[in-house]
Every structure is written in structure tokens, then in C-alpha cells.
Amino acid sequence: MFQDMLEKKRELFADGVQTVLRGHGNRNRRVVILKGNIVQNTRSESRGISARVNNKGTFGFASVAETTPEAAEKVLRAATRNASLLAEHARRSIELPPSLGVGSMPPHGVINDTAQKEIIEACQTVDNYVSTKYPDLTTRTIVYTEDSQDRTLVTSDAFNGHMITPRCYIYVFIGSVTDSGVPVELFKAFGGYGSFADNFSDVTKYYPEIDELHKRLMDKKEGVYAQSGTKTVVLGGFMAGMLAHEAVGHTVEADLVRGGSVAGKNLNKQVASELVNMVDFAHTYDGKPAPLPVYLDDEGTRACDEVLIKDGILVGYMHDRESAQHFGMKASGNARGWGFADEPLIRMRNTCILPGKNTLDEMISSIDDGYYLISSGNGQADLTGEFMFGVTCGYEIKNGKLGKGLLDTTVSGVAFDMLKTVDMVSDTLEWSSSGFCGKKQMMAVSMGGPSMRCKITIGGR
């Protein structure tokens, strides 16, 4: 057993430091069909062992792309040496964070492989459906992407465990051209946590959503540019989730708080309407598994939920063990690395704004002149909470009813200002788990939100 082999190397852990030995594998499958042509068709596996040693606040890390006992010994020696070498140059020396409990976590997750042939056939089935039913599209691309983590941890003073996190998606990208020659595009990702068989044994179940995507593209094709300025809008669940992640979530990561983010001076202050509640869920939401469950982080901290905003008041940050000690707070299991060569960083997990009591229909019917903003292709935010999201799908709202579709536009603002304008929150929650967050390393994260009525600056053309 691999875990037993790692466990035997515990005898090499140095005294007076905190050590984590991690076996880590990543598996990827990818197929891309561009207008019927398979332009990517690949499978990849990366696997290795890493060690991280904390020596009074300076860290040594080493990894090897092998999974042998010799590799485990090599990374332990190198990480210990690195921590000592760096300590000679560091200007600080801190107490090691206290143990948050030791033990063994029960294993979570299974991974099942699927033949590439089966993956390609599923993609071709979707491609055939799109091309046959909607022959007038100018572009169509089907992308299958699967990635999974398989982590085994042995720690000096935290929890040990073996965790597997698989996820896979089929993206459908479709495009058309307006009468005036402007290309318009939309995409949607189908799938989620689990292996191919969990999500794509019957791809026909996604056809109604593909039809809806096409309808929205046709509405966009006939669409208009949004009028620029500050508008009352219904921000759809996907957009609210992106706001939660990009514009709020990053500012409450404790390493960025220490770097001067806007959250530093706003702890325990009103940063949003009292209707706004935001949580970074570890593994369970509403009694069911969260989209990308995290039970144990890469420092061996048992994961639990982190409440970030409660009734509009900023109440918490996300931590690793060291930052939790610095701020006098608790670590909730946010220290995560993506690949075997990646050291753990403070990362989000399943970050969402919680649902409220209104219905989407109530919210739309309450607006005389505004917009319903549904999906985004990209978003960026700053330490100040200033954000910008591209809006790829939306509609006018005129006299309480949906009007024409919108061509691509943007929304921007400052998160803690904009969230104070939220005055209605829907009773439904929309999750999105297909993306990666970039922060030195990539990381699989999920985000979610309800629809929210608020005021926001829209960019127009």
C-alpha cells in the first residue's frame, strides 16, 4: 500500500519542525472537436511525492516525479535542507502553529477510468446533435475535459488520509453572426464531480439545456447593446457566484489580507446588505455533497465550513495554519496544492452567497428598466475589491418583463459598495464547478450564488 510506504518514512521526520509528506497524482483527459474535426485527443498522468517542512515560519519544500520509497526519502532530505538554508536568510522567526488535531481521515472518493473511444463517441454524439439540429451555426466546438486529484497525506502533527477528487465536463461552444456581421458566441459546461460514467453515460439528458443555450444565442443574435451607466439589474446565480469568488473571496484569503486587501480594515464591519450571507463550504451544502468536496487539506487540517459574511457583516477569512495563528483565528482546511510539485496555498473551495426568500420572477417583475445578467466568460478583481466581469448572456428588463437579448458587455464596481445595494435575493442557488482559479498555481474550485437584485455599473458597448 502506498500510504503504508509513506507512513514508514515518518521515522525520517526531523524533530522540532512540522512535516507533511504527500503522494499526489493528477489525471487529465481531453478531447476537442472543432466544427467536426478532432483537434485534440490526449490523455495525461502526473504523479509524484512532495515534502514540506515548516521550521519556525520558513518552509522547505521538495518534490520528485516518482512514487518510490527512495523518492520519499529524497524529498524529505531536500525539504529539511531547504527549510534550514532559508532560515539563515529570513528576517523573522515565529512559533510553530499549534496542532489542530491528529488522526486518520476515512478515504473519500473513487476514480474510474473510461476508454478514450467512449469519450470521443460521447463528444461526437453531442456534436452531431448540435450540427444536425442547428445547421446554421457558424461555429461549434465540443470540449471534453477531465481532471482529478489523488492525494495521500502523512503528517507530523495533523491528520493523515487518502482523498480522491474527480470531475469532468463537456463544454458546448456555439456561435452565429448578427445581420450586421457581428459574431456572437455562447457556451455552457455540463457535468461536475465524478467520473465519466457518473456524468455522461447518457448525454441526451443535456439536450434540453443545449436547446436553451441555442435559444439564448438566437436572442443574442437579435440583441442590442446595453446602455452604459449605473443600472438596477438582476444578477443571475452564475454571476453572483463569480462575484463571490473573484471580488470578495480573494480579498478574504488571509495571505491577501496581509498583503493589504480591503478586507483587512473591514473585519466585523458592514460590507454588504444584511440580506447577503457568504460561506466557503468544505464538503457539504444543504445536507448533500458540495460540488467539489474537500475533506482534508494539504496541511492535514480537517476541513470545515468558513463563514465569511453573515447578515452583511464581514466575519471571517480563509486560512492556512500559519495565517490562522497570525490572525488568532481558526484554520478551516483551505491550504491546497494542485499538483505534486505544488506547495499548498490558501485557496477557496465551494464559495457561495446563500439563497434568500424571493423568487426570480418577483425580482424581474419589480424592475421597470434594467437588465437580467445571466452568464460571464471572464472576471477579474483587485485587492481593493474593484471588479470587472464580462457579460456574455443577458436580457433587457422593460416594465417587469424580459425584453431583447444583450450583446457582449461588461459590469464593474467595487464589491463592498455594490453588495450594499442588494435588496432582493432569490431562493435558488446556482453552482458552477468547471473552472480553475489561478493564483501562482491552478486550482479546481466551485462557486455559487442566488440571483440578486442590485445596482451595478454596466459598460455598454
Binding site: F61, I120, N378, D382
Partner: protein, 432 residues
């Protein structure tokens, strides 16, 4: 290096058992030593030993590929099995191919062995310099690494490439603060093959620090206006990459959505603009020996004096569309300088922005872009007035590069690109 040749010989023997008629593979070994500085102090030293093997298998006109880090016999066997299975399940497409025989080539470049003591001295010198000269600037993260690697590729057309290389890289993420007033963040970085020059004097690093230091008290603009931009070199590179990606890259040419689909030989931008992908250039620290398609890498000019010379196509896209392949991996963008000093470019602007960073997504196929002007300054009557906040810029990529009013004499070389400042007209700039 000899280890990798032995590994390749071992791989060849394994492949022989599978009687594959056509394939191409590459193997690599690498080592990274990376210093991480957080909040101005050494935080982590990271050592990464890695291997990689990748193979493309062709069964007639069907292609499959696989890659992985396991280079044991069992791992390489599994790789062949994965790539073969992928090829077997793929439809026939004769556009999949790799380059004809390019011969055998071997070389070494860059700083293969690190001088870690000198590296640490340079890092500490940088930290001390910033603390002394720019006390309001915070170094949120500093990553400084030395990377070395050996790479080998062989294929059934007879080509063999073998290369050993090494380089230093240095990147920072910074903000500035005074009392309760703080800026957003900015980032910049360089790669180098020596440690002869202090990091603060390389690339765009000192300018980025000065810019963030001057951004602590931004002003918010009222309303909107049509103005000009003077775009910093790092931001220019982002826009050039978007321009080529949007109008001249493989994907948009294959699917026919490029607005420059039939524009080769025609004027597509201002005649001030020349965009090249340089492989051999003294200012580029590491060149590519070969392309991913197996060609010996060459310099390539995409736009010359505003005329589209060629699309930037890999071999698959070239075969698919009957257009010429570009023997360059991309990434090392070089823009030709103009003849106007930066100060004169700014002096010529009636109203606009010095755009430090564009925070926005990739434009749609039509080239329309919209985003926030970060680390940017208002220009009025030829002078820089103040830093700005919550300011949007909207325009169209194609139009923007047609409306170049000037390109600076000054160039910034960060080791992987060479960029001037460019000034453009016709941009919608809006505040609150």
C-alpha cells in the same frame, strides 16, 4: 544529458515491440530551485525534480497522444497504450502530421547551473532597495527561480533534437499603502541568463514600482469621453497577443471566423506596426530549438508595416486550410520601435490615459473589448495628471491598431519579449 539519451534508447526499444510505423515523442528532465518571498521576507524554498514523457501515435491518418511523468518501463508502456488507444478511437484526419526530417541537432543555452549564493544576494539587494527607495511599496509576493532542463525529441522521420538549457526568472506582485490608503496590485517579471544586473534595473520592474507608488490616491473620473491611450510595454504585449489570437491564430482560421481570413498581403493595421515572433534575437534569453510540430524553429513576421504577412498557424491548421505553416512556437513577441520619445508621445495627447494594465477578458471574435484601466493615469493637455480608479476603457482591437498615433523609441526587454509604448486614438474612456 546522457541519462536522457539512455532513457530515449530504452523508449525506442519499448516502442519497437509495438511495431508502430509513425510516431513522435519527447522526453525531459528538469530541476527548479525557487525562492518565495511573502510580505518582504523569505517564506519558502522549493525544489522540484521532474520528468516528462509525451508521445503522438499515428495509425494511418488517425492520431492520439498521451503524456505523463512516469518514465519507468511500465510507465512508458502505459503511455504507448494510452496514445494508441486514443488514435484507434479517433476518426481519420490527414491534417494531423509532424515535420519532415529536420536532421539531428544538439545544443546548450542559457545559465544551466545556478549560482544560488549570488541569486540570494541579488534578491536581498532588491528587497533592501525597495524598502529604502520606495517605503510605501509592499512586495506581496516575490518568486525567484532557477530552472534547468534537458529535452530530447525523436520521430520516425529521422529528426532528433537534444537541448540543455537554464535560466533565472524573477517576478513580483506589489501594492502600495500609506495609512489606510492602499492601491490595488500590479505585477511584472523578467527572465535572465545571468545575475550581472540588479533586478530592479531589469525589464519594466522599476517603472512598475514607481507607478504603483504614485497610485495611492487615485481620482475617479466623471462621465465618458473619446480619448487616446499611451499603453505601457507590458500592456501592449497583452493587446498584441489578443490581436494575433483573435484575428490570425489557428482556431479562428480553421473555423473561418477570423476577420482577417482573406487579408494576407493586405493592410490590416497602421503602417507603424511590425509584429514578429523572434526565435533568434540577442534580447530573447532562451530561444526554441524546435516547434511542437517538429520543425527547426525560425523567426516569423506576422505583420510588417501594417501588412498581414501570414496567419500564425501550426501544422494541423496549415494542413487543414491549405495555408503555410509558421515554424515558431509563439510567445517571444517583438515589436519594432517607433521614432518618438515616450515623453513626446504623452505630450501629444490632449486627453486620455497612460494605461498600465488592462483588466478585462479576451475580446469576442469581432474584436470588441471592454475592461478596467488598472495602474493607470489621466493625461490632460500633454501632461500626466493623476492616478485613476474605477475607469473603464472600451474599444475594438482591430480599430485600435489601425489608429496608432505613435510608437516610442524606448523598448522594454523582459527576456521573453521586446515591447515599446504605443499611443492609440479612438478609445471610449468612462468613469462613474
Amino acid at each position: 544529458m546522457s541519462d536522457l539519451i539512455k532513457m530515449a534508447d530504452r523508449f525506442d526499444n519499448i516502442i519497437k515491440k509495438h511495431e508502430l510505423a509513425k510516431y513522435t515523442y519527447s522526453l525531459s528532465e528538469s530541476e527548479k530551485q525557487e525562492f518565495n518571498i511573502e510580505h518582504g521576507d523569505f517564506k519558502l524554498l522549493r525544489t522540484v525534480y521532474s520528468n516528462n514523457a509525451s508521445i503522438k501515435v499515428f495509425l494511418g491518418a488517425r492520431m492520439g497522444s498521451a503524456n505523463g511523468t512516469d518514465v519507468t518501463d511500465e510507465g512508458l508502456e502505459a503511455l504507448i497504450a494510452d496514445a494508441t488507444a486514443a488514435a484507434e478511437s479517433s476518426p481519420e484526419d490527414p491534417a494531423h502530421d509532424f515535420a519532415p526530417d529536420q536532421g539531428k541537432h544538439e545544443r546548450t543555452q542559457g545559465a544551466v547551473e545556478p549560482d544560488l549564493d549570488r541569486f540570494i544576494e541579488r534578491i536581498e539587494e532588491f528587497l533592501d532597495t525597495v524598502a529604502k527607495e520606495y517605503p510605501r511599496v509592499r512586495i506581496l509576493n516575490l518568486g525567484a527561480s532557477h530552472d534547468k532542463w534537458t529535452w530530447l525529441s525523436r520521430n520516425t522521420n529521422g529528426t532528433e533534437f537534444l537541448e540543455t538549457a537554464g535560466s533565472y526568472s524573477f517576478s513580483i506582485e506589489i501594492s502600495a499603502a500609506e495609512g489606510d490608503a492602499t492601491t490595488g496590485f500590479d505585477y511584472t517579471g523578467i527572465i535572465a541568463k545571468d545575475l550581472d544586473t540588479p533586478f530592479i534595473e531589469r525589464g519594466d520592474i522599476r517603472r512598475s514600482i514607481e507607478s504603483i507608488d504614485a497610485s495611492i490616491y487615485p481620482e475617479t473620473l466623471e462621465g465618458e469621453f473619446m480619448g487616446s491611450l499611451v499603453i505601457t510595454p507590458a500592456c501592449t504585449e497583452d493587446f498584441v497577443q489578443m490581436l494575433i489570437g483573435n484575428y490570425a491564430s489557428s482556431g479562428v482560421v480553421i473555423d473561418g471566423t477570423s476577420l482577417w481570413l482573406d487579408k494576407v498581403g493586405e493592410q490590416v493595421s497602421s503602417d507603424k506596426l511590425t509584429v514578429s515572433l523572434k526565435n533568434e534575437d540577442d534580447r530573447i534569453v532562451l530561444s526554441d530549438l524546435a516547434t511542437g510540430d517538429g520543425f527547426l524553429a525560425e523567426n516569423a513576421t506576422i505583420i510588417e508595416k501594417g501588412v498581414l504577412k501570414q496567419h500564425f498557424l501550426g501544422l494541423y491548421a496549415a494542413n487543414k486550410t491549405g495555408r503555410p505553416v509558421v515554424k515558431n512556437n509563439g510567445g517571444n513577441y517583438v515589436l519594432e520601435p517607433g521614432d518618438t520619445p515616450l515623453d513626446d508621445l504623452i505630450a501629444g495627447i490632449e486627453k486620455g490615459l497612460l494605461l498600465g494594465r488592462f483588466s478585462g477578458g479576451s475580446p469576442g471574435t469581432n474584436g470588441d473589448f471592454s475592461g478596467v484601466a488598472k495602474n493607470s493615469f489621466l493625461i490632460e493637455n500633454g501632461k500626466i495628471k493623476c492616478a485613476v480608479a474605477e475607469t473603464m476603457v472600451n474599444g475594438n482591437l482591430g480599430d485600435m491598431f489601425k489608429n496608432i498615433r505613435g510608437i516610442s523609441k524606448e523598448l522594454v526587454c523582459n527576456g521573453s519579449s521586446v515591447m515599446p509604448y504605443i499611443a492609440v486614438d479612438g478609445i471610449n474612456i468612462s468613469g462613474k
